[in-house]
Symmetry: C2
């Protein structure tokens, strides 16, 4: 097998493997799954940590869609429609066995990837969402009044509700119904309920 081909095969299997067992998964067992010997892994990756690093990149950096904030901010469509569309797409990207479990393993191990990813999420998605919700409920934009903690916290509620579908399915191993109608329901009832938060945050001291 050619080096680049072999490397691809190793990384792909490693993603699945570390998602299943966490980063403590043994290189011998990974090699067994690949039908290769364990030392061969060390020809392609200097250390186990180097392979783990590569797995991060493969799973997290590749699945971020840079146009998500544009989808949310496209005011030619109703906000509810945009938000449903975004979260359907976002769910497709992250509600997978590999993404959810690796993200959680990473957090538990104290790696800084979660923090960095969530900073990106907040900057590109949460801020846009707050801005659009402000407009929806007749409140001033975030350029005039920056997002308040409680508004960001409200957006976290929706985000958590959707992320947790993956936790229940891929971490707790519970049955979860079809995602599309569930996500639509979660987004719509969120928007229905969040109005008072936005209005409070933009009228009282904040």
């Amino acid at each position: 097998m050619s080096p680049s081909e072999r490397e691809d095969v190793i990384v792909k299997e490693a993603v699945r493997f570390f998602a299943e067992f966490g980063f403590e998964g043994h290189t011998r067992e990974l090699a067994r799954r690949l039908d290769i010997t364990q030392p061969l892994l060390y020809r392609y990756f200097a250390t186990k940590d180097a392979l783990v690093e590569r797995v991060y990149q493969e799973v997290f950096l590749r699945r971020w869609n840079p146009f998500w904030d544009e989808v949310i901010g496209d005011r030619s469509k109703p906000l509810r429609e945009r938000m449903v569309a975004f979260y359907q797409d976002y769910a497709k990207a992250i509600l997978t066995y590999e993404w959810i479990r690796l993200f959680m393993f990473s957090g538990l191990k104290g790696l800084d990837f979660n923090t960095r990813y969530l900073e990106l999420l907040r900057r590109r998605v949460f801020n846009t969402l707050v801005d659009e919700l402000r407009l929806e409920f007749g409140a001033p934009g975030t350029a005039e009044k920056p997002p308040t903690d409680i508004e960001v916290e409200a957006v976290w509620s929706l985000h958590a509700a959707i992320f947790y579908l993956g936790v229940r399915k891929f971490i707790y191993n519970m049955p979860v119904g079809p995602l599309e109608p569930i996500i639509e329901m979660k987004v719509l009832s969120f928007v229905d309920g969040v109005g008072v938060v936005v209005r409070d945050a933009t009228t009282t001291a904040g």
Copy 2:
């Protein structure tokens, strides 16, 4: 030190220890923290797994309040007030470093504890919540029409929003603001938004 005293000390430290490192944490390191030798652990617990089992019981079984469903169902008070009170109390019980992290480690390792715990939660809390929300929005009780999947899914949204506060704080290591006002906001905006779900579920085929 007396046996029961020593055992308590070991279990208490083991809770913290396994919450930090997961169940792969080494017995030698645990012993070092306890200022005892590693073989002494094996005088009190036959195997490492036996100690892990004990840690589960200590953290999960001891913190469940059997009166929670009564708090939620006490119709002498407004529903919003009851739900806020319940989730403030529930948050105090589970939004701790040990509870959140051990629960997640347990799920990732494929132990069945999560499933069993969440069955208890669904039976005692979610069903009661759906029943009370039905009453709030003028829909028939669950005795007449059992909770639908989409209603339970709606309740999961609120539950996830609150649980995820602990994930952000204790797993992602992110700063999270004061819990009381945040939880109040999450409960109130949830109730504001969930009406349409309950009405849909009880009027259309369901």
